[in-house]
Every structure is written in structure tokens, then in C-alpha cells.
């Protein structure tokens, strides 16, 4: 009988096994400069969670896969992280091409991906949580703001790939109903610096605003050439950009000075919460580092996942995927909440004007978080799930 009691004294807790999560970002190749900071932002979130005791009493451990700026590599890496590393969730991708490849993997494996970028919408996978902005949380309100503040004559310029085409398609459909007029729509090949014909056309047409979805280094050539042209112009042409944020401007601080950008998060947001966020990030990664919208979205994604795990009391992706849909939190940008129907976030919309130091001065913000609408009501497209919801 005494033996029967002995186990009450004898039992000891063995150390808990860490929970692995997978990160899919390019550490090499053309996308590396943009994507590397996202890994840092997520590292901060993971360290915060571990510092507070981990999840379900277990520490988090990251497994980072270099996707080498190649969607196919990303898909293979996703497969490996799920099958071999047994990660509890995947965080990553920048381009839509990468997301679409990884989507096929997480759907086949019934797994879960957090995608942090603003993108063209028209998607809702039961195995993805989208923490970036939908068009109605970035492009469309910014378009309306620009037509009201700058004028109705619009010039559309973008890089020649999926997002700019999709974004301009929305603008083409919506602008005329609000009195807007598109004077031209042009595309630059990816990475091209051949901007002279475009600048000449802009100088001739004199639009009220240029809506810019150019990606990467082409922007440097574009803005430099425009600066030259504006210097001699009677009325300088204003540019509103959708794909340039603080991280890209950190290399060329004065490049966009005086021009506009639309995002949900700017580093310049003046709130105690954001100041604390910047302080934590800089203490960990260096005082010269900057933060931008995709980084914040990646950071928020990790915390939302952790909250979901806490609610579900398990790390099983299918259960977490459902529990995450009920989450909200106070992010650096303000309150963000998951919209269960679309699996996107309710986000605030902001418009800023670039300063000499590569930071943005806030000009306008939506009064409250905006409902995500990945399938615009006025676009004739079938609303269909990519696969049945389990």
C-alpha cells in the first residue's frame, strides 16, 4: 500500500520538446533584400512568445528554409518542412507566384500557411491565413483619396507581372464610376531601367497623379528620371505607390520625397505601442534598422497563430486553422482581427507622404479597421472556394 502512494513523490517532469514552425523566405536571389527583414520580424515575435513561456508550455523553434527567390524551390521546401521537420505551421512567401505554389502543397497536406503580403485578392484557401491587405484595404481607398485630393486624370504604371495587372484591372473598372479618367496604362519588364519613353509620355499627358505598381530596382530609375522631368515642369507630377515601403527606401532615402504611398502600417505611426515595437526590434537587430508593412504583417501573423494554438490547446494545423479565425490583437498598426469568412484581416488603411529620411508623414487614415473584401462585389467573377472547406 505504501508503494501505491510512492509514485506521487517519484514523478518528475521531463523537459518539454520544442514546437517547430517553418519559415519560407528568400535569403538569396533577387527577393532576398525584401524578404530577409520579414524573418527578423518573425524572430522577434517568436522570442517574445518564448520569453513569456512558449506555447502550451513548450518553447518555439524556427526552421528557416531559403526559397532562393524561386516559387518551385519554395514548394519543395514547404513539402520538406511539413513531412520531415513536422512543423506546426508555415510562415512565408512574398510573391503571388510563390504563394500559389505553396498553396497547392498546404492544401494537399491539409496544413496551414500565413501569408504576410498585400496582394491582388480573388483567393480564399482554407489552408492559408492572409495577414496583408486586400485591394479594398489599400489600392481602392488610396485611388479614391488620390482622385479627390490630386485630381481625376490617372496614369497607370507597373511592372509586367500578376499584381500590377490585377491592381490596374480593379482601377480600370472602378475609377470611371467615380469620375476618374485613365490617360494611359503602361508596363515595364521586370528589372528594366528603360524609363525614358514613359517619363516623356507622362510629361506630355500631364496626369493629375501616377498610380505606381513598379516593383524593385526599376523604381530607382523611374523616380530619378521623374525628378529630372519635374524640375523643368510647370506643375510637377505626383506619384502614389503601392509596392514601395520603408525597407526599400532605406537604400535611397530621398528617392520618393514628396510622393505618396498607401499601406496599413508605417514606421512613423505615433503610438506608445508602435514606439515600443520599434524599440524592441532595434534593440534586438540594430539601431539603424527600419520597419514596414510586410514586416509588421509577418510579426502579427506569428502572434495570431500562437493565440490560436492557445485557444485550440493543440498544435494540430486543422484545429489551429479554425481557432485562429476567432482571434484579434492590438498590433503596432492598431487593432487587427481575423475575418472568419474570408480568412483575411480587418486592417486600417493609411496614406503617407515620403520625407527626405525615407520615412512617411501620415496624411490620411481610415477611421476604423476595414472589412477585407478579397472578391470585390462589383467584379464579375465567380466566388468559389479553391477547395471544399473541411
Amino acid at each position: 500500500m505504501v508503494l501505491a502512494l510512492s509514485w506521487f513523490f517519484g514523478c518528475t517532469q521531463e523537459p518539454k520538446k520544442p514546437v517547430k514552425i517553418g519559415i519560407l523566405h528568400s535569403l538569396t536571389g533577387t527577393m532576398a533584400a525584401s524578404e530577409q527583414p520579414l524573418v527578423d520580424a518573425m524572430t522577434l515575435a517568436i522570442e517574445e512568445i518564448n520569453h513569456a513561456g512558449g506555447i502550451l508550455g513548450r518553447p518555439l523553434q524556427t526552421v528557416v528554409a531559403d526559397t532562393q527567390s524561386d516559387p518551385h524551390t519554395a514548394a519543395q521546401a514547404a513539402e520538406r518542412l511539413i513531412v520531415e521537420e513536422q512543423v506546426a505551421a508555415l510562415f512565408g512567401c512574398w510573391t503571388s507566384a510563390c504563394r500559389l505554389e505553396v498553396k497547392a502543397v498546404v492544401e494537399r497536406r491539409q496544413h496551414l500557411l500565413f501569408y504576410p503580403l498585400q496582394y491582388e485578392g480573388m483567393e480564399r484557401s482554407s489552408h492559408i491565413i492572409y495577414t496583408g491587405a486586400t485591394p479594398n484595404q489599400q489600392i481602392i481607398p488610396a485611388l479614391l483619396w488620390a482622385m479627390e485630393q490630386l485630381g481625376p486624370r490617372l496614369y497607370l504604371i507597373g511592372s509586367d507581372y500578376l499584381f500590377p495587372h490585377a491592381a490596374n484591372r480593379l482601377i480600370r473598372t472602378l475609377a470611371p464610376s467615380q469620375g476618374g479618367k485613365i490617360v494611359a496604362e503602361r508596363y515595364l519588364p521586370m528589372g528594366s531601367g528603360q524609363v525614358e519613353p514613359i517619363i516623356t509620355e507622362i510629361s506630355t499627358l500631364q496626369p493629375d497623379v501616377v498610380l505606381n505598381t513598379i516593383n524593385g530596382d526599376s523604381n530607382v530609375a523611374f523616380f530619378n528620371a521623374l525628378e529630372q522631368a519635374n524640375r523643368n515642369a510647370v506643375k510637377p507630377v505626383a506619384v502614389l505607390s503601392f509596392s514601395i515601403a520603408e525597407v526599400e527606401l532605406a537604400q535611397h532615402p530621398g528617392l520618393m520625397q514628396g510622393h505618396y504611398a498607401a499601406w496599413g502600417y508605417f514606421q512613423s505611426i505615433d503610438s506608445p505601442r508602435n514606439r515600443a515595437f520599434i524599440h524592441r526590434f532595434r534593440s534586438r537587430f540594430g539601431q539603424n534598422r527600419v520597419l514596414d508593412d510586410p514586416m509588421e504583417a509577418a510579426y502579427v501573423g506569428v502572434h495570431l497563430w500562437a493565440q490560436g494554438v492557445n485557444d485550440a490547446q493543440t498544435i494540430a494545423p486543422d484545429r489551429v486553422s479554425r481557432a485562429v479565425l476567432h482571434q484579434s490583437l492590438q498590433a503596432p498598426q492598431g487593432i487587427v482581427s481575423l475575418d472568419a469568412a474570408t480568412r483575411h484581416l480587418w486592417r486600417t488603411v493609411r496614406i503617407g507622404r515620403a520625407q527626405a529620411d525615407g520615412q512617411f508623414a501620415l496624411l490620411w487614415s481610415s477611421e476604423r479597421p476595414v472589412r477585407p473584401s478579397p472578391f470585390p462585389a462589383w467584379l464579375d467573377k465567380p466566388r468559389a472556394d479553391t477547395q471544399p472547406v473541411p
Binding site: W7, S328, S373
Partner: protein, 973 residues
Amino acid sequence: MTMTIRTIQTRLLLAMVILILTPILILNEQLRQTHLESHTRALIRGMTQIADKKAGQIEFFIQDHLEEIQLLGHTPLVIEGIRTLQRIWKESGPESDAYARADTLLRSQFAEYLRRGHYYDAFLIALDGTVIFSIRHEPDFGTNLRTGPLRFSELAKVVKVARTMLEPDFSEYDLYPPSNAPAAFLAGPVMDGQQLVGVVAMQFDMHLFTEVMLDNTGLGESGATLMARLETDQVRFLLPMKSDPEAAFRRTLPLASNDQQPIIQAAQGKHGSAFTRDHQGENVLAVWRHLPALRVGLVIQMNANEAMAEFTQSRYWEKIFLAGVVGALLLISWYVHRAVVQPIQELTRVTEALSAGDLGQRAWVVRQDETGRLAAAFNTMADKLLTAQLQLEERVQARTAELHAANQQLHMQITQRKETEARLLLAHKVIENAGEAILITDAQGFITHINPAYERITGWSRAQIIGKKPSVTKSGRHDQNFYQQMWQTLNDTGRWEGEIWDRRANGETFPKWLSITAIHDDQHQVLHYVGVFLDISQRKADEQRLEHLAYYDPLTALPNRSLFHERLEREISGSHRQRTGFALFFIDLDRFKQVNDTLGHGAGDELLIIVAERLLSRVRENDTVARLGGDEFTIILTHVTRPEQVSPVAQNLLDSLQTPLVVAGQEVRIGGSIGIALYPHDGTSREQLTQNADMAMYLAKEKGRNNYQFFSKELQTRILDRVTLENELTKAIQHQELLLHYQPKFNLEGNRVAGVESLVRWNHPEKGLISPARFIPLAEETGLILPMGTWILEESCRQIKIWNAKTTHPWHMAVNLSPRQFQQPNLLPLIKELLDKTNISPEWLELEITEGVLMGNVEESIAIMNRLRDSGIRLAMDDFGTGYSSLNHLKRFPVHTLKIDQSFVRELTPNSTDAIIVQAIITLARALGLTVVAEGVETVEQLEFLKKQECHLVQGYLFSKPLPAQDLERFYT
């Protein structure tokens, strides 16, 4: 020596405390922790479910209405309505007659939405922001939402989103000045193709919403739901509270120093659950959520004491048990003291005295046990010692020393034995009195001991179970794999803990929370396995009850809409994986409304329960029968792929519904209409399947009920055609595409016109003339017959006024009255208004009502007809002979005219059955003093026959077809 004795006593107590009391206290603390944690987890899980369900209900409610307003913004009615009103508003303003006419038409259409959709008001907003239409005409009507006083209101905000972003939007829930009540708004763009023409908006009646929010089912006596919105430095409560019914929108809570409050956390976007203090300082268990759509925090809470009542109660008994154990310990220690320590103390005292040389000392121990005998022997020895002291002093001294040593040893042995006995006794008592069932096996797994709690919980007795393996009680619910895993863990770690289903002695299976521990000896060989478990069937049942509340219809216990959706989604993905199919049934009960209306809601509920049972009894166990609300049921029939497999089931269901049933003491007969969609043939998404099954059900209803229909592409096309026709018909009334033709009625000589019958025609701008047979039934069904009928009446009155102004022999104008028109409550005032407006004599107007309509509710029909007749209007019974009016009824109907149905006249040959019927009708009419009109006269033979029978009037192609008004001028005499 005194010190040593004290030390023995202290050691004894110390040993008791360390070896027995400490383990008991630690064991008790561990059990308390585990129990507390699992109780708290279960509570929080339950409350989280309620909170998420509420949040889900709000989200579903909003999504549903967003879709509705989106559709509303695309309906021709609203597009045309907003265009017309904008034009009229600009040209002649809201006071004009034109506005009043357009307003009335729209109003009748919106009334239906308002009735159905929990709306308080509906608005149409012009592109410039002016509110040009409102049902209620509160002060918001006519103001401009972009520049006027309401430009900062929630209404203005959603209208702006709809106008600029072309997306429907749902507002926050706030006080709204014009109605000065909490309100929320919904707005959607009105789009004609890709062109924005205005905005349609709705104001919600928030009562229903508040009721749903304040439903504290599952939260006990002290349950409460709080909702609050963040303002600059405070939060504002949006719902009434038990302690403060006026709290909604009035009560606030400052942010400073309260930031750990659940309601403030939730309003600020956080999310969580905890034991904490609420805004009134009460200890509560709370779960909180942020609802982005309303930008509010939601808190579900209950009083901590109530939440923990069950736990506190069980702790109370544990404490009593513990006190008993401590008491028993003290008793034992007192006994040991008296029986062993005291005599030893006494002996020691004497021995000390003897050894000090005082040979006169004797030990005073009156006991029968070893110590007593020892003392007696000791005393005898002391006596002998005393007498032989002088001679034997040295030997005695040596003996004394030996004795002392023996004494010591004996004392040690006794103490040890008592200690062991006490320890065994206590461990035994702990196990025998534990609330948890305990089971001990030997290393081979054969049961060696069970405690009373085990017998109580499982019903198995010691005799049945000792010597067996625990597997004799297994439930069969777990597979081999499960037990293998369990043994694996147990062998690897020495412990296993988890939920497991077992079987009681009475055969019932139940869930238990079981911990198994292996007990090892010093060489790490397993000696025993000890299993401790709790019966968690009650807790499971509680969880299930909570789930049941969220997912089942409380009336019929069938799955509700949420669970149906979930099951359907699951069935879709399951069938997709297994490459099989299933059928989705939508069932609508026929005549349910009558039962509800005539026998009361109680009877209606009773009927629904019976129907639910019948449906369940006709399907397999794997199939799902759900109730979506009202008398709408659905069935998911699994593993079927072809219509031939489904038809027998559908027929079987129809048969079961048609069997008469007794509710509220009355036998009633109902029936059902079933629509069926097959996966994957008729759709692969939930929305598609439900929509298609619904459409098929609609067809079944149309086909006269009591039948089942499969969805088909043709059906979809047909229904779309109908919808198109319906929309065009709405337009036709507005655009005056309808026109009237008139067919004259003659005397038998054919030389004088006695009156005309007006007949409506639709001249479609593209399709040309459309037959009344196509559009009248549709108009009747959709209610469009009412505005149409009013127009026909007015137009007919206007026309007869023109004609009769030119003649001394006034004609009668016969106008057909449809069933719906006849039953319209304001029929009489409407007709009187038309008579006044057109200023014609009432007796010029003759209303034709078909026999079938009148037979529906005879007494009510007679009352309506009497009122019409009393105002001077003539009444005719149309299509006479096709219904079933008895002579008795005919006598009581205050009609002036009988119209013989043309089907009799058409077949009129002498001596045919029809001839006899016609002859009988004419005789009958003459006997009752009624005028008889024969319709559809086409040949001279027919006319001759009617002449012979002395029929009064004839109408038909023989004389004239229906003609436009101007062509009738030639019949003027």
C-alpha cells in the same frame, strides 16, 4: 536520561508526520490541482464556445444581410425606382402627385422586405446624397447625407462606402438622432450593369439583436453578456445590464487604472479568458472577444463562486476526510504514549533511582502487557536486590547494567512495530476512503486490490474482479492500437494518463480519466501497477449539452442550420475524397401554416416534432435530417449517386408525411414538397447545392405540392425565365405596356350591346403581345396583380365614363376580379375611391368573380359581396358550372348575373350532356331572378339553342372578339 525519553517521543511524532501526514498532504494537494485545472478548463471551454457562437451569430447575421443588400441593389425594381424617384424629385419635388404614385409602388415592395428582415426603415439615396425615399419619413427623409446635418452619422458613413467603393457595408451599432434609438445600418450600391445609379440603405430594428446578445443560456444564474466600444479615454457599454437596465449607451468606464478589465481588453482588440474582477469589482470567470464588424468588445462572464460551486463542494468533503485522518493520528500517538512511553518512563525513573543507590524505589505500572510484567519482575528483582544488597552489591550492579540494556532493546523493538502498524493502517485508510477509484495489479497485470470507490463507480465487486486482468472491463471502443500505445508509454516512462472508455458491471460504457503508474523495487523491477481514475461521464455530458445547445434545434432535437451547414461541408469533402455522391433534400411542409393559424402555435410545434420523428424513421442512421427553421427541413442522403437510388426514399418520405396525424386532439393532414440536388452532378459547393435543392423544391410546390422534383439545368433556366418575366412585368406596369381590350355582350338578336367585359393585354416592346394565360397567374402569385388590378379597374371606369356620356342606354362594364384582389382587405374603400375619382355611377360597374374563389370561404365571401352590392355595384359569377357551388349557396350569393363557362357552350349540340347542363343553369338562374350570360358563342347553332332556352345575353367571336376601345365605337346606336 530525561532528554532521551523526550527524544523518543519526539521521534515518534516526527516519524508519523514525515512518513504519513506529509504524503497525504502532498497527494491531496496534487489531486486538488489536477481537479481544479480540469474543472477550470472545462468551464472556460464551455464559455469560449458560447462567446464564439455569439460572435459567429453576429458575423453570420451581418454577412447574410450584406449579401441581401448586394442583391437588392441589382434588382430592376430598385434600379428603376431610384431612377424614377431621382427624376421626379428634380422635376417636381417630393410633394407632387407623381412622387406619391412612385412612392406608393415602391413602398408596397419594400414592405415585404421590412416585414421579413428585421428592418426598421428603408432608404434610397440619390447620387448627390439626398435621401429621396424612406418608409418612415423620419427627419432624415429629404436631407443630404454629404452636406446635411446627418453627414457624420453612421448612415452617412455606410452610404459613402457603398457609393465610393461599390461595396455593401454594415455600420457600427450606435444611437441615431432621428429615431433616437440604437440603430445599425446597411447600405449597398444600386448598379445598373457597371453603372452606379444610387444607394439603397436599411436601418435595423435592433431589438432582436439585443435579445440574442442578452441570451445567457449556459451561463448559470449570474451569467452576463457585456458589450462596449472604445472611445478616447473610456469605453461605453452598449447593452443593458441586470444591475442597471439603463446602462446601454449611458454607462461608461474610464480606461485609466482599469486596463486589466476584460471589457476594456476586449474593446481594445484583445482576446482571452481568466478569473478576474469585473467592472463592478465582482469576482468573475470571463471570456472576452473583439468583434471587428461592430468595433466592440464582447465579454461573457459568470460569478466565480457560482462557476466553482461544484468544485468547492467536493473540496469541503476532502477537508473533512483530512481532518479525520489527522485526528486518528493524534489518537494513535496518545495511545502509544500511554501504553509504551509512560511505563518506560516509570521504569526508567525507578532504574535511575536504583542505580543512584536508592533501593527502596519501586516501579508503579499497572498493566497486563509486557511492560506490566516487566515492571513486576523488575520490582521483585529490586526486592531481592535489596535483601542481598550487601553480599551481592557488585553482582547486582552488573545485573542492573544488563537489565538496563535489555530494557532498551525491548523498548526499541516495540516502538518500531507500532510505527509500521500505524503507517500501514493509514495508507489503507487513504486508499479505502479515496473519492477516486484505485486499482492495483501485480507485475503480470492481474488485479490484486480495488477500493470501494472502484466498486461504487464501476459496479464490479471485489469477488468479480480480483485475480482478473483490467481488460475484462474494456468497452470495445478503442482499437488494439490504442492499448498498444498505452502499454508502450507505460513501459517507457512508467506513467500513462488519458481518457479511456470502460464498461460498468451493468454493461453501460462510460468515459474515465485514468492515471496508471508502475511501482518499481530497488532493482527497477516492476512490482505493481497502480491505476487511479475519475468517472468523467458527467463532465462529458455537460460538454455535450453545451454543444447540443449550439448545434441543435431545441424543439425537434434535429441539427440546426449551423450544424447542417457543417455536415454538408463535411459530406462534400468526404464524398470528394471517396469519389462517391450524396443527395440533398429540401422539404417544405404543405398546409403547415393553416395548422399554425387555426390550431395555434402549440399545435404547430407538436406537428413539427411528429414530422421530425417521421423523417428520421425513414432514413438511414448515417443520413442527416436537419431543421433550418419554420417548416423547412433538409436531409443529406449519403452514398447515393443516381436518381433511381433516391426516388424511392423521396416517395417514402412523401408517403409518411401524408399519413394523417393528430395534434391538439384534431386529426390533420399535411403533405410535403421535396426538392433534390445530387452531389456532384448538381453542384460541388454548399451554396450551389442548397440553392439548387431549394429551386427544385420551389418547382415541386409549383407542381401542386405533395411531389418531389430533381434539380435540372432546364429547371434553372425555367426559373430564370420566370424571374425575367416577373421583372419585365413589374416594368410593364410602370411603363404602361399594359392595355385593355373590350368584348361586347349582346342581346339574343345580336343587335344591341348591353355591356362590355374588359380584358387586359400586355404589349411587350420586344416580344409583342403576351398571352394573359402566361402573365396573369404569375402576377397573381407575386402580388403584382394588386397594382395591376387597380390600374385595370381605374382604366375601365374611365373608359365607360367616356362611352356612357354619349348614349342614353348605358353599358355595363364588367371587370374581372382575381382571387387575391377579392381578398384584399381594402377592396371596398379602393373601389369607392375609384368611383369617386372617375365619377361614374356604381351600377355601371360589374365585378366578375369566379365561382372557385367564392367557394373558398363561403361566409366571408358572402359578407364581402354584400358590402359591394350595398354600395350599388353589380356582381357576376364567372365560369359558372366549373366549381362546386351548391344550390343552397347560390341562393345566398348576392349576385346579379351568372356567366356560363365557355367550356359548356363550346360543346353545345342538342341532347348532349352539356346541353342539359346549360339548360339547367338557365332555368335555375331564371328561377332565382338572375341575368344569364353565355360566354364563348362561336356558331349559329349554339346561338339558336340559347335562344330556345331564353338565355338573356351572349358573348363570343360570333359577334365580336375583344377589341381596342376605339374599334367599339361602331356598336353605338
